[in-house]
Symmetry: D3
Subunit: 148 residues, 6 copies
């Protein structure tokens, strides 16, 4: 018995944006200051710099015929806040965050992978599938990870 | 005989953005007010609330060697306006729109599917293929549908 | 005795952005439907329409020599949320909001005045002065009020 | 021996935004003025018009375990500037650009293909793969090309 | 006899955004090519370049106690379109526009003054006062004129 | 002898946007950790956090009748870069910047005053007047200083 004329086998993608800001630097311990500067430029400033990060989490699934939800976007927002934003916001990405292993460069590319690992298990509990983690470091640079 | 050096077998994606604003509420008639509030929160306000929606329609095809067009973006804009915007703009999504069946929750997820059904047949007449319907409900929430 | 070299007599302006969304219609009870339509167009839809509103509140004052604050932006945010956002978000501006008198058109122009009246007394308690209420109804329309 | 716990086989996408502005017109030499106007409308103005273009280049690859980079985003930016922006910025797209063949309409659809051809060989030298060229002509129109 | 509790002596500012795109160049006829290049750089390209312009027109007045309008924003939009957008959109600012005198550089600074002169008389007929013309040439450059 | 019909006594405002990113923390040395946390919240994280800052510098003056410039926007950009951006970009605002006195909180309010002092003398040499320094710390918070 179907509530609406929306086919229940179809796949829809739902995205939620959240924000955090943080300090970081790009620095390889085993390298000299010159080598770090040559590769990372101003991003290697030993006193840190920082960014306002925009994070987009996309899940996919079939809209429930009664609620019209893939998953409740409030639950999606709660998961992102509990497992990512609360740990990254106003933090130092090199020093303060348990899920970023020491020595892992906090580049945008590495962050999207690590954020995927934090979020994916919790999406599954809501009968949806994590599809994409997209992270803007500045308005000119972003990385995406699709779990492949 | 070819007008330019652009390969005629290649696939390019073209997107047009349009806007509408509308009132709606999320509410299951068969449920109590408590159950509606528990699931939908403030979105269940019986007196409605509303949004400025941003709609992105993406079509794909091969650029014509003479005009450089997949399809004329003015025709794409006209189709979106005639079959979607004119019906949704300044409307109540629960009450006013023929192509939204009564009882179907006007969630972003359901809207992208219903908008797809409105637009797809008209794109085909222009030798292009509808690829994606993307709808922002707020700057923080959007849904996408690829017709699969 | 001064903590920094920032002159303590100077005036700085601080702005905080918050968001809400709401339904409304523009409708004069004493007028016929025709007259309402002629003036208000689609905004007079009897079943309502709605918007995502962006609200910018600007206060002015002298930065405290120790904290560097005109007033704590967290306090500013709390005032806006308690006295404006919590009352307007997901509401019907014609029906649900105590501080919008019945019969007052919920135009952007009237809203900035009414929001000013809600916020101004609470800013004074923080030794700052309310300078401007700016409200976007869409990306193309906004109103400002400076209390004069 | 691995520096971090980021799997080295995974694929991450990195995007860099650059900007240029240019004049152009859409005009088929073999057609009458009437036919050009009928198809291209105001875009056929013989005295030209112009746009601020936003260009997004997406590359994909596996983050290096030491640097956390797919490729250095500064190198990506340099490639885009040398081979695209320096040639298109403040130019007339119909007259001034060597890599746009005369007679090829400078539509957004054709531009993304031609920009792809300019950039792809240089990305390969950095052990990354060009994934997408996305170009905004206005805030309402953009084209994408994935090289397929 | 007052319809609402909004004071009728107060001043509110209402802004409408419109868009156009155009080609132009900066070039002083009496100067050599070298001198033009030295001052105007790439903006002196003899084959033109162009921009997407964002135009914000701000009027001020007292909201009408019945309609809540300073002036009907639809009338404001019509005035801007008839007297400015229709004349500038898809034009060449050096060649095509009657209200830009030949030899006047089409800089953002000059355009805001000339647009003011086009619009001001028509605002007065609606019992509102033109307050500001603001014009973005790119996201990084804008000019404002307040008629003083 | 006048080149155009633009009145030479009128005042136009010209704004240039530049960007930088930086780390900082809000912390009063004389206070306990508890007192710092109570007032500054997460902004007092001893390991720093950071932001992408958007800086808008507005100058005013009369457009030159020949060039149409208040001042050459390229000169304005150079001044901002030399005296502000090069010193703040990828820096730690508490530790690295000579023109921010030690002990001065790097709040947005204090930064606009200090940036004003850096820029104002150099604008005067170009026969323009500095009118406003506006600085966004996040999309939700900005400060302005008008030199009064």
């Amino acid at each position: 018995m179907q509530k609406n004329n929306v086919d229940t086998e179809i796949m829809v993608y739902l995205t939620r944006k959240e924000r955090f800001n943080a300090a970081h630097k790009l620095w390889v311990e085993e390298w000299s200051e010159e080598k770090n500067k040559a590769l990372f430029g101003k991003c290697s400033n030993k006193n840190w710099h920082g960014h306002n990060y925009d994070l987009y989490i996309t899940v996919k699934g079939t809209p429930d015929p009664t609620t019209g939800f893939i998953m409740n976007v409030k639950d999606l927002s709660k998961i992102i806040k509990e497992f990512v934003i609360d740990k990254l916001d106003h933090s130092n990405l090199n020093l303060d965050v348990e899920f970023i292993p020491k020595g892992t460069q906090p580049t945008t590319e590495n962050l999207v992978i690590l954020i995927w690992q934090q979020i994916a298990p919790h999406i599954q509990k809501h009968n949806a599938i994590l599809h994409c983690v997209k992270l803007y470091e500045t308005e000119n640079i972003y990385a995406e990870y699709f779990g492949e």
